[in-house]
Structure formats: C-alpha cells, structure tokens
Symmetry: C2
Amino acid sequence: MSAEEAAAQQQQQQVGGDPAPAPESQQLQQQQDPPTYRCLVLTGHGGYDKVKLQVKKGLPALAKGDVLVRVKACGLNFADLMARQGLYDRLPPPPVTPGMECSGVLEALGEGVQERRVGDKVLVLHRCGLWQELVAVPANHTFLMPEGMSFEEAAAIPVNYISAYMMLFDFGNLRPHQSVLVHMAAGGVGIAAAQLCKTVEDVTVFGTASASKHEVISQGGVTHAIDYRSRDYVEEVRKLSPKGVDIVLDPLGGSDTQKAFNLLKPMGRVITYGAANLLTGPKKNLLAMAKMWYNQFSISALSLMQSTKGVCGFHLGYLDVESELVSSAMSKLLELYGQGKIEPRVDSTYHFEQVGDAMRRMQERRNIGKVILLPEPKKEEEAKKEEPKSEKTEETKKEEN
Amino acid sequence: MSAEEAAAQQQQQQVGGDPAPAPESQQLQQQQDPPTYRCLVLTGHGGYDKVKLQVKKGLPALAKGDVLVRVKACGLNFADLMARQGLYDRLPPPPVTPGMECSGVLEALGEGVQERRVGDKVLVLHRCGLWQELVAVPANHTFLMPEGMSFEEAAAIPVNYISAYMMLFDFGNLRPHQSVLVHMAAGGVGIAAAQLCKTVEDVTVFGTASASKHEVISQGGVTHAIDYRSRDYVEEVRKLSPKGVDIVLDPLGGSDTQKAFNLLKPMGRVITYGAANLLTGPKKNLLAMAKMWYNQFSISALSLMQSTKGVCGFHLGYLDVESELVSSAMSKLLELYGQGKIEPRVDSTYHFEQVGDAMRRMQERRNIGKVILLPEPKKEEEAKKEEPKSEKTEETKKEEN
C-alpha cells in the first residue's frame, strides 16, 4: 500500500466514524454481537462533507405492513444535492438519512404483509432514509425486480423513470409525431425520458447536454443533441422546428421555464420539475437563489388562455402518498423493461464512503446516466484499481470547465 | 294579427333595416336583381341592440381554396356575448359579422378545391363572420356532415365539442376511473363534456347548474349535479370526493380558477377556457371586470411543483391556424356521433331577427344546450306559435332569479 493509499483509507475510516469491517468479520459479528448497519447521515446543510458514514446498532423497527430490506444499491438524485444544501423541503431537518430509491433483498416481513416473501429482490421508492444497509419500508413501496435486472440497474429506475413516465405520458400526454425538448439529456431523468419517447412512434427529441455526451445520448434516443454551453438552445430548436415543440421537460427553473413556455406550440405544455439552476457549486449560492426567485416563472389564467398552452409542476417527492399512481407507472415501466424498451444506464458506482465524490460528479454534470451508491464497504483492491479512474475524472472535469 | 304581434313584426323589420322577403319573392329576386344575402352585424360594443340584421348585395368573394356555403344554422357562443361587450379580442373591431360556427350546403367551389362538391352538406368552424346567409370560407375549415345529422345539430357541434374534446382528451388526458368537475354543465361545452366523459370507463362527473336543469344534465352524463346557486360547490365536491378531482373545466375565471386548482388531486389539472364571471348583465360591467382582474389566478413554477398539478389555458379562437389539430378532433367527434356516443342538444332556435332574444337567453343562463341562429327569415305563423314560449320564458326567468 502506498503512502497515498494508506492516507486515503485512513480518511475513509474517519469519515465513517468506525473502521469498515470486512465481510467475514461482519458475519461473525452478527452471530455474536448485536447487529449493526452502515448508513449515510446528512449532519447539517452545506458542502460534500456534510454527509457522513455512520454505523447504527440494532435493526430498523418493522411496523405493521413493513418489510426489512438488505440494501444492495441506492440511487443518487439531484434532489439529494439540493437537500444537502438545505434547498429541498421534503427531507426532515438534519441529522437525517437521505435516499429516495434503492434495490435490495427482503430479510424480514412485518405483520400483515402478504404479497412479499423473504428473499424477494425488490426496487424501493420511499420519501427518504434509504441510504443505509438495512431499511424498513412499507411493503407497497417495494416492487419485485424482474429476472435479469442487476441491483445497480434496479436502483437507477424508480425516481428517474417514474418521473419521466408520469411527466411524458400523464401530464404530457405524448402522442405519435410530437416533439419534446429534454434538458440535461444525459442526466438520469433525461436518459429515461429519451428512451420513453422512443416507445412512441415518430417522436422528435431535442436534448441538451455538453458536446462530449452527444454520442451517447444520440444512441439513447435523442434526435437532435444540442450543446447548450456553446449554443443558444432556443435558437437551435427554432432552426429545426420553427413552430416550436409540444412538450418541454424543465429541470432548470428560473428564466429557462419562460423560455420553455415560449418554445411551445399551441396545445403544448411545459412540465417543470426542478431548480437545477440553483446548484452552481457545492454550497448554497445566495446570488443564484436571488436570481432564480427573481426570474421565477409565473403565469396568469388569461395568458395561458391566450396562448392555449399548459404549465405543469411535477415532484415525485410530493406524490409519496399517491401509491396507486406510482405503482401503476412502475408496473408499466417494468413491462417496458421486460420488452427491452428501456434500459437504465448506470454512469458510475460509489461506495458509501465515497458519497462526496459521487455528489461532486453529479454536481459538476460529469455523469451520463445514473450515479449509484453501494452500501457495502469498499475493498482495498478496488481502491487500487480506481486510481486511473480518478485521473480520467480530472481530465473530464477540465474539459467541462 | 294582434296589435302586439304587429308591433313586434314592425320592430323586427326595423332591426333588419329591410323588410324580410318571403321565400317566394326571394327566389324571384334572385333571378331578376343582383343577389342579396342577410347577415348579422355587430355595429358597436354594448347591449343586445348592437347586433343588427342587414342585407348585403352581391356574393361573398371566393378566394383560392375557398368554398361558398349557403348557411342553414349558426351556433351562438359565450364568446359572442363577450365580443358584443368588447371583451373578446379575436373579433375585429365593429362593424363586423360575428359567428364562429355554422352548417350549410356548398353552392360554389373556389379554385383548387378538390375534396368538396357543390351540394355537400358541411359543418364550418371559422374565426368569425359566419352569421350570414352566404359565406366564403377555406375548404379545410369545412367538414362533411354525416348522414342523419340535422343542420341545427351540425351547428351545435364545432365550437362546443371540439373545445370539450381537446380539453378533456388532449390537455386533460382523461382516463378510466377519473373524476371531472364541469362548470355550467347545462351550457354548450358542459353538455358536450359530460357526453364525452361518458365515452371513458367509470368517469365521475360533477356538474354545476341551477336546480331546474339537474334532471336533464343527469340524463346527459353528469353523475352528481350541484346547484351552485344554493350550495358551495367546493364543499359539495369535497363531501363526495374528499381527495378532490382529476380535472376541472373552468369557464368562469376569476377566483373560481383558484378554487378549481385547490380542488385538484395531485397530478390533476385545471383547464381554464373562459371568463363567464365577467358577464353579469347585457352591458360591460366595470366592477365585475375589476373584481375579475383583481382575483385573476396566477401561479408560479414553484407552487406548481410543490402541488404537483397543472394549469392549462384553452381558447379555440387562438387555434384557427392549427387546422390539423382541429381536423383531427373533428374527425374523432364525427366518428363518436356515428356510434351514437355524442348527441348535440339543441336548446332553442332563433331567427336572425331574434338574435337579441337568443343572446339574452344565453346571458341569463336559461339555455340547456345549444342556442341556434337561423339565417332564414321568420315566418308569420311561427311568430304566432311562439307566444306561449315567451311566456314560459318569463316564468323560467323568475325561477332563475
């Protein structure tokens, strides 16, 4: 082990607050000592270091209707980055464990659970708290994983695909021959949206992403990739489609929502689902917030009527009580997965102790697809292998800046 | 002829500016003199007397792609009432002939018209100018009438049914087991909307109308009729459906749009398509206007996201260039008519010289279904028959007030 590696490992252990036990010793521990489980905890609002690895003792309590899941992979979402900065009101105040989606295996069933068995592999969607090795969640927040789906793929599905599905097919009512503008087309929702658009005949997808990602997103279903860093995306869309588009998925907020609205054809609609424009760096940016609120899109009934357009707001975090809506979207998605029509794209996987790096990757918009967190401890061997990756990462970073 | 009847006839002739010729003399006239045609003209903004019957000489000029239609029946719409008061910006300034929909028979084809024949019976949807005996309109603004459809029925279809169709199925994306609140459920759009809701499995329709109309609207597809004059419709809906509804069609505007928005379930949407609250009497009401603008619904992207709802504005008057969208809706509607699934309900018919009475009926919300205008002159015999009707009308009026 080089001096650098040793230092890195040391640091991880400090972040964790506890040395990460090797799998063998863990098994032993389970037999002899009270069980423990690793989890990530948001300890306060701020930069990447605010999410810390902790080890909890005991087991999560199973309420009636709950199941106990041994988590194998978790999804990282933009909302998690916002939550860390204190910009997401659906997460309880710190200290709290974030995490809205994961995949895993059922280890125990609470009272009254009929439709699940111990050993079932499941996808989980829940309001928060899933970034831990063991979680107790209501059984109806779990969905059976189809054959052949990996845990990483499964963790990449719930938030991104359900959001894209409901926005395109419920609010959007996407039909053949229509056109859609997908911002952040290389992000989790973007990748999902382009794949879902392809399930409808002759849909034109305009997708914004930096130039280095164009090849991948074009393969994934984007008809016209637009480099929003070097071009005005509104002009680019107008050049190709002078009348505008039928649907805009808007994760940006601020003045981009107005641009989206202006780009709509009559009977078109913008579905706004985020405020990525707020996230300019690892910490809360007051200037960006002021700009965002100042430019926030607002519209009157009269203007909507005179333009004959629609504006919808979407946030999966507010749909947690609507389990029927969510289940219905999920079962259609799993059907599409079975038909090979959607294919979650995993960008990268990070162990819990690397959560800061994972967040940074997403914050800096370097990912193409989903960033996944793994509860299991990072092995020494992996740490060694990863060195070349982090070099490459630095290169990409330069290119993007 | 009683003294009263004679006075009435005298007045009609004055309104017309010209005595209405009997059909026989009209035919003679056509052979000998240059042709003339009757039309209604909005001569200025104001009360019912601002729409006058006039007779024009010659024939409407046929441009390339136009067809000449001998009009048999015209539809009266809320927008026409607003236009008369100067509250509708899609009608050119007076003097101008209103009228957005009619039915009739083709009398001549302009250059380049391939898909129509002289003698074809058609429905017409056009921005304005259809309240006249003869009109020239682009051929693609006409639709062939199916077998068995009367001219009155045909004139009752375009505006109301296309609006209801596009609002429910395009913006609304109405699906089985959902619920819809239809305001003014006994009006043209309301009747159409309830019938269209019935084409989808297990849709619950809440319809507001005064109590005397409940029987009719219940037969027409309204599941729960609500008397908005004696009850708080929001409370009534909440009693039956505590979670709210999936779709609200809002022709009222002002504070009712906010109420509609609040009544939505998550993923629900309100489609606002009018400002009937502005029409409190026959003339422009500045207080109502001030109240309306003061209470006008306006919403920010953030509020939409936090509620996970949508707001759409609809106005067929702004879709006149979108002939593909409109044609597609119309062909689906004619298919539904052929299957007996929709059935336009004609409330009453008025001759051109009675346009003021027709408008008053609609203004005072006495109609159940469509109010139709007939270009052909009123015959003496009809005038006699109508007396009992106008008495009944007075009764209804008292009841409604």
